[in-house]
Symmetry: C2
Subunit: 404 residues, 2 copies
């Protein structure tokens, strides 16, 4: 029997208990031993809940029990999660976590600590909820040099953009609806400003490139400036607006950013709608692959956590090699990265001459009902060059990057 | 240094050599040791090819060399691959293969043999080319009871159907074009009759359900009867026609089949076009996930083979547990499986009364330019009931199953 302690009995924590109960037989078979929840750490009590007998309020009760060999950390936030996880690993207990803040901030250190103890620090659920992406990056795509990871990594913003697209609504109205339905937090900043996606792409980039990508270094822009009018243009062009978290290797430079992008219907991420996540990966020999599924939610996330528990159980006293060194990967400033840009500008097409004088050839887009403005897409240029040139134009309403 | 022997220097075999050369440094780092190709078995010689010095014509030269610890089998076909792989495993050498015929026919036996020798039999490349699907099923989706796997598993037929859809062409014309381009074999039977997809879904089903699914038991229908007219109806309904290989657990029954289906644009497989493959998996706690990518081709397939070589190198003398018992899984006859059906029928809608008398409520579909016929979609009924009822109708032109 393998005893586990769960830190946190919130949404994911109670999901982990539910998944273990629901699929007990097959999980035990795959783990090779019975998985038993011995403790659940929470500040609260849960009278009437079958878990109540296992509730403890002191982490040390769990950490000091030699019978506990795997800790599930599903509290979220950096502290006290970091302190608890570090103590558990130092104490020889493997850890499975869903905590993206913890992994983005301290992943390489905790992996190194687990390696030194010949145990495991696993975090499949920290990115993409139930979608297998961490383990495939670490143990399936090993023959490739990954040169791009681009993901729709935040379900809340994807739901908002999908609903704006399908119903022609404005951001604020859809956000309110999402909050009422529980798809968005009362304080939605982490989602709508892109901070959540930023931490997740930092984790994926660190794994893909093998060195620490600090999330603070990643240029991050949210979706709060996207309007119903922008989406009319997108539809006119047969494109969709998605919040993409992307990192790319171009020559010897590494770029990472989070921002809204226009993507065309030939891109596999185009049809990732609503609360779903999609993660597109390009390898130098593999070509394109994409992973798609529920990026959040109680049971999908718990499914990934429990899969990590099974893996930890199958690898007691044997470290699963993970390539994420603590050496910092220096990102190149995105001002040097190159792409096409979409610009909306007020006025009539008499402005086109001066636009072409600045940008060279552009594709013009007009939405029939919006006759006091128009849009255009530039050729591929650098962020710096775009910024410099667009600054010379008068009447710019909005700009959105284009993913080809 | 880990020495490997490659059986077969065809498309995939030469791809394996190319991938190992291209990404040598990162592959060796991930494997933990240098991977060295010591032998390549082929009937032919390759004068001028750098591999020529390593070419041998006798399998026993490789198998008798104690320095070789991993065998790559990329010959295809059941024999002599089966004999060679079995001998290699008996001799304590791990095997990585891309051979779906071999895995579908002898997978459980070869896995058991590898387990008894504490080595590995790996076959990521046998399904979905470069898409990671075998390893995720085996080591990521371990917290779930998988109740459905539905895949577009054959790139050739998906290319043909995509081209028929985009260009309004007939099957025979597109097949000829695909043959000219090298996307389809001169003898296209294995692809267009669904036999290739059948072997692949047999492998995935055996892994998902943990018991041997014999491919001979799987009802298999190809795409040769799909016409340009059928595709006009599909477009009219906002659906696409795809060759789906599917297995489902419904209650205590397991169903598996390969056939063309109509799928709607809300389904993640709808936008898997051209030579790409997509594999949709539903788990009881995970919900929906999909894996997408290049399902064939020299380098993507070789990427998956080399990833297996890396995994074998990381697990020398340590078996990776794989749940695929030799106990046979009895499939339920598909006559009991239930779904909606689309039917095209000649004549006018005066026939509707008798159709409704037989099937109950149906949705009628008409394509404007085709006025001497119409189509309808039934409610959900069993295959047996559908067959019995549709047999009573006169003027049936074609029928296609509907995937909701």
């Amino acid at each position: 029997m393998i005893n586990i302690g769960i830190l946190g009995y919130g949404t994911v924590g109670s999901g982990v208990v539910e998944v273990l109960n629901t699929n007990q037989e097959s999980i035990n078979k795959r783990a090779g031993e019975e998985i038993n929840v011995k403790y659940v750490l929470d500040l609260r009590d849960f009278p009437g809940d079958p878990i109540q007998d296992k509730i403890v309020h002191d982490f040390e009760t769990i950490n000091n029990d030699p019978d506990v060999s795997i800790i599930v950390e599903v509290m979220g936030g950096v502290e006290p999660a970091y302190t608890f996880v570090k103590k558990a690993l130092e104490n020889g207990k493997s850890v499975a976590t869903s905590n993206k803040e913890l992994v983005a901030k301290h992943g390489s250190e905790l992996l190194e600590l687990a390696r030194s103890k010949n145990i495991n620090f696993l975090f499949e659920a920290s990115v993409g909820g139930g979608i297998p992406i961490i383990r495939p990056l670490n143990s399936s795509l090993t023959a490739d040099e990954i040169d791009e990871i681009t993901g729709i990594l935040n379900g809340t913003t994807n739901y908002i953009l999908s609903k704006m697209t399908h119903e022609g609504l404005e951001f604020a109205d859809v956000l309110k609806d999402a909050q009422d339905k529980g798809y968005a937090e009362r304080n939605p900043e982490a989602d709508v400003e892109g901070y959540d996606a930023c931490r997740k792409i930092a984790i994926l980039s660190s794994l893909a490139f093998g060195s620490q990508v600090d999330y603070e270094d990643i240029y991050t822009e949210g979706i709060t400036k996207i309007t119903a009018s922008d989406i009319k243009y997108a539809k006119e062009m047969g494109k969709a607006i998605k919040l993409l978290a992307s990192s790319k290797k171009v020559g010897d430079s590494f770029y990472a950013m989070v921002a809204p992008f226009l993507i065309g219907d030939e891109h596999p991420l185009y049809s990732v709608n609503n609360v779903f996540n999609g993660i597109f990966v390009h390898g130098n020999v593999l070509g394109d692959v994409m992973f798609y599924g529920s990026g959040a939610g109680k049971l999908p996330t718990a499914s990934a956590v429990v899969a990590d528990v099974v893996d930890a159980a199958k690898h007691m006293n044997r470290n699963i090699m993970t390539f994420w060194s603590s050496g910092k990967l220096e990102l190149t400033d995105i001002s040097k990265s190159e792409r096409k840009f979409f610009v909306r500008i007020s006025g009539g097409t008499e402005k086109l001459e001066s636009i072409k004088a600045l940008f060279g050839p552009v594709s013009v887009v007009a939405v029939p009902e919006m006759d006091d403005e128009f849009g255009f897409i530039t050729e591929v240029i650098s962020e710096a060059e775009f910024k410099e040139k667009v600054g010379q134009l008068e009447g710019v309403i909005n700009m959105i990057r284009v993913q080809d």
